[in-house]
């Protein structure tokens, strides 16, 4: 039995939490979805997560906030940011701060797979 890498999805948008895990499973990953950064941090998945797919804008703790928090906790999980805001200027800054990729919604399944592959290579 192949042990699938755990990919955690943190997004406040329900449709993302519904659709993205299915696609990730089709791509061969194990998936956990969380509605907020706080929920993710409180879960026992943090240590097992091989890649974090993280929404940037969320109520409460935002994606970058979570990134900083994980850095502080020395939990170096590769992060692929996803955002519905088409603001190109955020991407370089996020990559600079250690993100593997920043995908703008809507993104294709291949772009997602490439980003995941890159993330898993990092890890």
């Amino acid at each position: 039995m192949v042990i699938r890498s755990l990919v955690s999805v943190v997004d406040d948008d329900e449709s993302v939490r519904e659709s993205l895990p299915d696609l990730l499973r089709e791509l061969g990953f194990a998936v956990q979805a969380f509605a907020s950064a706080e929920e993710f941090l409180a879960s026992d998945c943090v240590g097992q997560t091989r890649c974090l797919i993280l929404d940037i804008a969320m109520p409460g703790m935002s994606g970058p906030d979570l990134q900083r928090e994980l850095t502080l906790r020395r939990q170096e999980i590769p992060i692929v940011f996803i955002t519905a805001h088409g603001d190109e200027t955020v991407r370089p800054r996020l990559l600079e701060q250690g993100a593997v990729e920043c995908l703008f919604k809507p993104f294709s399944d291949t772009a997602l797979r490439d980003a995941l592959n890159a993330a898993l290579r990092v890890s």
Partner: protein, 815 residues
């Protein structure tokens, strides 16, 4: 013989006596002695003097005259009579007539006097009574306040009372010598003579008014009446002629006639100069010998103006007019200045007005006296002066003073009336002009008589010919057919209780153009309780058009503002659209993969396809909402739930606010009543306020970017929506500037949001305001009336009309 004679004489039923030529009584008959109670001896002898004893029976006071008379009878040798009172035996004196006849001998010498004493007491009494009566009559007639004459049946003068004699300054005898007509006014004599002759001929009373010349040459008016006095057989024995002095009454009558004529001229709107000239002529004819002038004080109150002076030389009056109103420039100027009468009785000795050499000027024109009296208005303002001039020195008599008073009064009425007429005309012109400029016409409607009066402007508004008689039918022919029923209902309801009316309606003109009218009318009742409406009608077509144009501009501006905020929302919109798009693509990818698997995961594919559709719908919803909010659309009126409207805006803004790290708290009241208005416009305002609040907090990092949107019921059936931020706030002095178009505190904004928002809220009869918070930030609020229940009810005519207009506009735009 002697005894025989004595017996006969004694038997006579009278008192008989004889006397000697020297007057001594030598015989008294027995009756004489019996009557007087004297014996024969006593009657013949007294104090040894023979023949004088009878004298003791005569009333002592009558005796000297009796003896004198007796002497003169004897001296005449002729028969004579005398009267004296004789004492009866009982001591009572009665008047007797003593009649004596001489008896002569053959040579003609009187040898004896034969006499009789006859009791005339009753006759004397009657005569005295008559004399007393006559005396009383004369007293009465002389005392009558009338001139009285008695004339014979043929008209000859017989008697005139004292007043009559005094009036003519003549005795009765002199008057009898005057010819008829001598003392009548030349204009009256012939008429009076004819009337008098007719009365004498027919015996009918005479009644005529005439002037008669007094002793001093003055004619006075009399009312002359003649009555015939008839005897028992109806023959005229006497004419009484009664003259009553009616001169004062005649003068008053003449004054009244003159006054009436002058006042008629005033009432008839004659020119002031015409009226004043007539006044002068009238005064001159009434107070003969005078010259009359009226000068007026000019509108500035500083100089004299020409009024009237028809009989004075032009050079005289022109040297008066234009003089300053003061005490020095002349009597009229002085009277006007002091508001007091100025009497200059003798200009030769007059010392006033020397500075202006007024007296020499007047004297050069032959005037020697001037009486000037101020003409004052009813409220005491001096209008001018009324002056009488004489060519001899004169002081006014009390009669003349009262005339002056009367004429001054008439002059003041004339001047004041003419001036107020002029002022009235002026103000009427102003009013007409003002009505014309403001497109307001006025009207009155007497309900009982259906009498309708229109101002000129109202004719113009309705486009009827000036002066056409107004009827309801005529008015109805112009009222817009769609408003006719409403107009009728409004008027009928008002007539029910006479209440005031205010409503708006349209006119449809013959060329099918439409006018909008605003009608305001006030109901009043006259003394008999009859209803009358007085009102004003304003043509508000231009205003309506401007309002419509304004509405259009407002919606353009709102669109501009919306487009502006669209820019600000791009990211948010992208987020809203990208979110479901992302779901769609992810789901579709998953679906493909599930179908491509071996075996294909059909159930999973079906589920992902279902989610694809859902997300597609979600994207479509976003687009619909965006179009609703940002599409250009004209205003509509509907029932709006502000909570729901706010929630939709919040949904649209959610991600934008998240991105700006704004914490939004929605505190929306339950059971909020709906408001009436344009949903999208109101949402636009809410959006604007939320975006502004968010922007205001963009630089805030030391405190939560807390944004609270709250709805609640407000006082007076209103709904309040507030947006409270914790941003930079604003300075109190800037609070009103916030709402000015193009005022902005933001570097990137156009600043049009708040001014447009305010105009939107005001078009919803609401209010939008801002206030700084106690802590950081500011609160923006708007309050708008809740949707009235039964808005189409009869209470709000304006609302009916407005909604009708809006409907019509809708129909016109979307036929």
């Amino acid at each position: 013989m002697e005894n025989e004679f004595s017996r006969v004489v004694d038997a006579l039923p009278g008192l008989v006596w004889t006397a000697l030529p020297d007057g001594r009584i030598d015989f008294l008959n027995q009756r004489w002695c019996e009557y007087t109670g004297l014996s024969v001896k006593e009657a013949l002898v007294v104090d040894e003097a023979y023949g004088r004893g009878w004298q003791r029976a005569i009333y002592p006071e009558d005796l000297p005259e009796l003896l004198e008379r007796w002497r003169s009878i004897r001296a005449s040798g002729q028969q004579g009579e005398m009267e004296a009172r004789l004492r009866r035996f009982d001591g009572e004196y009665r008047w007797f007539l003593f009649r004596a006849c001489p008896s002569a001998d053959a040579s003609g010498k009187v040898v004896k006097w034969c006499g009789m004493s006859i009791d005339v007491e009753d006759r004397r009494r009657a005569e005295e009574a008559l004399r007393a009566r006559e005396g009383r009559f004369r007293l009465i007639v002389d005392g009558l306040p009338a001139l009285v004459t008695l004339r014979t049946p043929t008209g000859d003068l017989e008697f005139a009372n004292r007043r009559y004699l005094e009036y003519f300054g003549a005795t009765l005898e002199q008057l009898k010598g005057w010819a008829w007509g001598d003392n009548f006014h030349p204009d009256d004599g012939a008429g009076v003579l004819a009337a008098w002759r007719r009365s004498v001929e027919t015996g009918l009373p005479c009644d005529i008014e005439c002037r008669r010349r007094r002793a001093d040459g003055v004619y006075r008016w009399f009312h002359m009446r003649g009555f015939p006095l008839r005897d028992t057989e109806g023959r005229i024995v006497l004419w009484y002629l009664l003259h009553t002095d009616i001169d004062d009454r005649k003068r008053v009558d003449a004054l009244l006639v003159g006054e009436k004529r002058l006042l008629e001229m005033v009432a008839g709107g004659q020119s002031m100069s015409g009226i004043l000239e007539a006044l002068c002529h009238f005064v001159e004819s009434t107070a003969s010998g005078c010259y009359c002038s009226v000068v007026l004080v000019d509108p500035s109150g500083t100089h004299l103006e020409y009024g009237a002076a028809p009989s004075l030389p032009a050079s005289f009056i022109t040297s008066i007019i234009g003089r300053p109103v003061n005490v020095d420039s002349g009597p009229c100027a002085m009277a006007s200045y002091l508001n007091e009468q100025v009497i200059a009785a003798d200009l030769k000795s007059e010392t006033r007005w020397a500075a202006y050499e007024w007296c020499p000027m007047a004297l050069a024109h032959g005037l020697q006296a001037c009486w000037s009296t101020p003409i004052s208005s009813a409220v005491g303002k001096v209008l001018g002066a009324f002056a009488l001039y004489y060519d001899k020195p004169r002081t006014p008599t009390s009669l003349e003073q009262s005339l002056i008073e009367q004429f001054t009064h008439i002059a003041s009425i004339a001047v004041e009336r003419v001036q107020s007429d002029a002022a009235l005309k002026r103000s009427e012109v102003f009013l007409a002009e003002a009505q014309h400029l403001s497109s307001i016409g006025s009207f009155s409607w007497h309900v009982a008589t259906d009498e309708i009066t229109w101002s000129e402007q109202l004719y113009r508004i309705f486009e009827f010919d000036q002066g056409v008689r107004m009827t309801h039918e005529l008015i109805d022919s112009r009222v817009h057919p769609e408003d006719a029923l409403m107009c009728r209902e409004v008027i009928e309801r008002a007539l029910g209780d006479g209440s005031d009316v205010e409503f708006e309606h349209r006119l449809q003109m013959p060329d099918h153009s439409v006018k909008y009218l605003h009608v305001v009318a006030h109901g009043t009742r006259d003394q008999e309780g009859r209803l009358e409406y007085i009102g004003a009608i304003q043509d508000v077509t231009e205003r309506r058009r401007a309002e419509e144009a304004l509405g259009q501009i407002r919606s353009e501006l709102a669109h501009v503002a919306r487009v502006t905020s669209l820019g600000a929302l791009t990211a948010s919109i992208a987020h809203e659209v990208n979110q479901p798009l992302s779901g769609i693509i992810t789901n579709a990818s998953t679906c493909l993969r599930m179908l491509a698997a071996d075996p294909p995961n059909v159930d999973g594919a079906r589920e992902t396809a279902r989610r694809t559709i859902r997300d597609g719908n979600r994207a479509s919803d976003v687009i619909t909402r965006l179009r609703a909010l940002f599409g250009k659309k004209s205003a509509t009126t509907e029932s709006v739930d502000l909570n729901e409207a706010a929630r939709e805006v919040i949904t649209l803004l959610r991600s934008e606010l998240q991105r700006s790290r704004v914490i939004l708290r929605a505190d929306l009241a339950d059971h909020l009543p709906p408001v009436s208005g344009d949903r999208v416009q109101l949402q636009q305002v809410i959006l604007n306020l939320l975006l502004n609040a968010s922007d205001a907090m963009s630089g805030v990092d030391d405190r939560p970017r807390q944004l609270v949107i709250r709805t609640e019921r407000d006082e007076g059936d209103r709904v309040l929506l507030t947006v409270q931020d914790a941003g930079v706030g604003f300075e109190t002095q800037d609070v009103e500037r916030l709402f000015e178009a193009f005022y902005t505190t933001k570097s990137g904004g156009m600043g049009i949001g708040l001014s447009v928002s305010r105009s939107i809220i005001e078009s919803h009869h609401g209010r939008l305001w801002a206030a700084p918070n106690d802590g950081p930030g500011a609160t923006f609020s708007f309050s708008i009336p809740r949707r009235p229940e039964g808005v189409r009810g009869a209470h709000s005519l304006g609302a009916i009309w407005k909604s009708a207009v809006t409907d019509a506009q809708q129909v016109m735009r979307n036929p």
